[in-house]
Each structure stands twice: as C-alpha cells, then as structure tokens.
C-alpha cells in the first residue's frame, strides 16, 4: 500500500493511493477520493515523539566509488540532518542567489518501523516500515572540508524533498534491485540502480544500530548514483524510483521571496 500525508480543506490528513487518486483515512472524510492536484503533499512521515533522526549517505554507489581511486570506502560515509529541511512532493526548493552548482540527488529513503539496536544484517528487513523517494539537494559552492559534507551544503530549509509516498516494505520484493532515474524539465539526466549501492540497506541498518538506537519514523537516505547536474531556477526536477514513486520539485529563486521587513 502507498501512504501519503496531505493538507486539504484546512487540515492534515493521512491518505492512501487508490486507483490513481488519494483516498482519505481521516474519520470525518473517510473514503473520500481526491485528485493528486487538489492537495498539498507533505512528507509522508507520521509525527514522532522526539526529534526525527535523518541519516544520509555519501559516496554510496559503486559508480561514485569508482571515481575515487577504485577503492570503495571501508565504512559508510554518513551524516545527520535536521528534519526541518524535509518538504513534500510538488514543493518549491530555494536556490540561493549567485550559486554556481546546486544539484539534486535521487535517493532511496528507508523509514524505520521498529526500535532498532544491535540489529543483524539478516534481520534488518523486519525493522523497515517502508520506502520513499528523497531528493537530497546539495549546493557545492558551500562545500568545505570540515565534517564534509557540511551542513551549509546539506541542511538547508526546503532542500530535502521526500515523497510522494511511503510504500509498505512488504510491497517491495527486491529493494536492492530498483531502477532510479532523474529528469530535469523532462530530460533524463541520472540513471542507476539500487543494486549498485556500496553498503546495501541491511548493512546500513546493522552499521547504524551497532552504536545508535533507531526509532520508528527515523529515516535513512541511502545515497545517489552518478549523474548529478546543476539545476537553474525554474527547473522541474523529478526523481523516480521503480515501484516507489516519482517525486517532483521546482527550484525557485531566493530573491523571489518576500523582502525582509525593515527594522
């Protein structure tokens, strides 16, 4: 089943996909069908009682590792993000004025379903709630070699679209064999497969849970394959993962925001 979280008619609703429409689960509107363009799509993540842990991977695809002296990393290159950077499907992401290289990163997002500590690789699937698509934008102009990738590159407001759906783990028979693709204004720019991950999802869950507890609703963004390109303001970027969904996002300019009030 594909789950969504949407805003409609002045409230937030849980919904599921039903025959190309959204079916509301909210008791007051239970069973009501809505078209995809009638709603505001939010990240497909239920609220959690504590700060949501969002872990992300760098250099986790073999094609990227190949560029790095043919030597894959010995340990996952992981960093953590604040959940406030997450936005939903069909949302707008701000491109700062004057930057030269801001690119998407199409990533399989893994949502944790059960508290996980010291999980063995072979049991990892039991701890996965489901999968989504994330676009973990990076602004390379701001890269610095201190805790790289630094938060100024990776933890910006509006810069982590996720969605449209959270797809039940049980519905994805082979999560490590899914095609990924990104289009910019309809032109194919990135292609890959989750089969090329350096550290696959069970390995990542074993690794993280060896020293930290993962809680239900926590998210792991599993890295992106080769093929990222700079996207100017106005670009419509669609990150798509086979059987999971197609996440659309539009880049808007910083200067189009309302001017700051004068003091």
């Amino acid at each position: 089943m594909k789950h969504a979280r949407i805003a409609w008619a002045g409230a937030i609703h849980d919904a599921i996909e039903r025959g190309g429409q959204l079916e509301l689960l909210t008791p007051a509107f239970k069973g009501r069908l809505l078209n995809f363009d009638e709603v505001v799509w939010l990240p497909p993540l239920a609220p959690v009682p504590r700060a949501r842990t969002v872990l992300a991977l760098g250099l986790n695809y073999a094609d990227h590792a190949k560029e790095l002296a043919f030597k894959p990393p010995e340990e996952p290159l992981a960093f953590a993000k604040g959940a406030a950077s997450l936005i939903g499907h069909r949302a707008h992401t701000v491109r700062p004025d004057g930057v030269q290289n801001m690119h998407y990163e199409c990533e399989l997002a893994v949502v944790i379903g059960r508290e996980a500590k010291h999980v063995r690789k072979g049991d990892a699937h039991d701890f996965i709630r489901g999968y989504s698509v994330a676009n973990d934008y990076a602004i390379r102009d701001y890269l610095e070699n201190w805790y790289r990738p630094n938060l100024r590159v990776k933890n910006r407001d509006t810069c982590t679209p996720i969605g449209p759906w959270l797809v039940d783990a049980a519905d994805i028979a082979e999560p490590m064999n899914l095609k990924l693709r990104t289009t910019v204004d309809g032109r194919l720019t990135q292609q890959g497969t989750t089969a090329d991950m350096v550290f696959d999802v069970p390995t990542l869950i074993e690794y993280f849970s060896s020293f930290m507890t993962l809680y239900p609703g926590d998210v792991i963004l599993t890295g992106t394959p080769d093929g990222v390109v700079d996207c100017p303001v106005g670009s419509v970027v669609v990150c798509e993962i086979e059987s999971i969904g197609a996440l659309q996002n539009t880049l808007v300019s910083e200067s189009n925001r309302a001017p700051a009030p004068t003091r």
Binding site: T53, A80, A84, W146, Y147, L151, D157, F211, M212
Partner: protein, 234 residues
C-alpha cells in the same frame, strides 16, 4: 504531588566544532594542509540525534573511555509546551538591544556533549558523536536573560576533581554571532538547541572519563548537571 521530569530537548540539537580559540589555534597549522586545504569559513556543525539525549543522572554506557564535552546549549524559543521557556520569552526584550540574534534564545542549559576521540575532522563523526546517551542534559533550563553569555565559566569535575574550566569569553564565535551565522543558512526551529562548542585542554586532548566515573558540570546561575558512566553490555 509535584513531579517534574528532567528536561530533554524537544527539537533537533546542533553542535559546533572548533569554536574555542585554544583548539582553533592548535589546529591552525593543519588547516592549510590536506585534506582540509583552508580554514573553515561557515560554522562547522553536527547533529546530535535523539538517541543521544539523556536526562540528568543518566548512567551513560561506554566501552572504554569517553571524551567529556562541557558546553552550554541555547534553547530556541516559542516552544509553548515548556513552561520555563514560555516564561523566559516574556523577558526577551531585555537583551534585544544587546544582540538581535539572541532574542530567539529562550533559555540556556548545561550539557555534556560526549564523544569518542577522532583525530580527523574531515568526515562527519556520527560513530564518535551519535552513540546512545552521548548528550546528557542538565535537569532544568535557565531563562536566557539570567545568564551572562560573555563571561560564563563552566567547570567539569570527575569524581570530585576539577578537570577543566571552559571560559565562554574565549569563543571564536560568541553566542550572538554563532546564532547569526548559523541562521544565515538554516532556520533553527522552536525547541531546537544550538551548542556553543566544547574546548580542549592545553595539550589538545579533552578530559576523559570511564565506566564507574561520576561527572559533574556546573556554572554560576545554572542548574548543575550530574551523571555517571557505565560499562556497555557486550
């Protein structure tokens, strides 16, 4: 009966690297070398994830030794469910003229930002910083206007012996400029906490503690933080 549970962060916690002049100066000769190439420009931040949050009095599990990281957390205001912070927000006008950025800070809290030693600051240090219980929080938040952020001295004691005094007058970026520089590229949400950073000792190391040790972090006018370390079950 009045039972207040110990305070824990309600939002995301951001730590700051290399924000004391002593450590920055010790690192300065290495900053122009590989892999760093140049000194950091923007504040170097890391996220302390929710699994690290531990209440005062916690026995934090370690396998060997852990580095102690006495620091002050700035709690961002507007988090109405916390009465202490709601009260503090009414006093924010008092610091308006001093530093505009600080008006968003509702309160301050002593923190032990624990870590495992790591010699390189090139890659994010999740495995060293984000272990369960590695952010121990004092039990109560003090309204920001009651704390002198420019001169505060934070003392760390292990088993009753003073091992470090951290002096906020030696920050690279003081609280106001750190907040301003961080806010320039990301929004701190109500309930989020920004840590001012941890200092090293004169030799560049940090104070250590091991299983069985008793740690106390205190500063004038703030609620002290006490916790212990325990041996991690194999």
């Amino acid at each position: 009966m009045n039972f207040d549970p110990p305070w824990l962060p309600g939002g995301t916690v951001y730590g700051t690297l290399l924000n004391f002049r002593r450590e920055f100066d010790l690192w300065a000769p290495k900053m122009a070398q590989a892999p760093y190439q140049v000194a950091p420009k923007a504040p170097v931040l890391y996220v302390k994830t929710a699994n690290t949050f531990a209440p005062a009095g916690a026995a934090v599990s370690v396998t060997g030794e852990a580095q102690l990281g006495a620091t002050l957390g700035l709690v961002i205001g507007g988090f109405e469910s916390n009465e202490a912070l709601a009260g503090a927000s009414q006093a924010q006008g008092a610091i308006n003229h001093e530093a505009d950025a600080l008006t968003r800070v509702a309160g301050c809290v002593l923190i032990d930002d624990l870590s495992l030693p790591h010699a390189s600051y090139y890659r994010p240090a999740i495995r060293y910083r984000n272990r369960d219980g590695f952010l121990v929080c004092a039990p109560a938040v003090t309204p920001a206007h009651e704390v002198d952020l420019k001169t505060l001295a934070i003392e760390t004691r292990v088993n009753g012996v003073r091992v470090q005094t951290v002096d906020l007058s030696t920050l690279v970026r003081d609280a106001a400029s750190l907040l301003a520089d961080v806010s320039a590229f990301m929004t701190l949400q109500p309930g989020d906490m920004l840590l001012l950073g941890t200092d090293c000792l004169p030799d560049g190391t940090r104070p250590h503690a091991k299983a069985g040790d008793h740690v106390e972090i205190s500063a004038p006018g703030l609620t002290a933080l006490v916790h212990t370390l325990a041996r991690e079950a194999a």
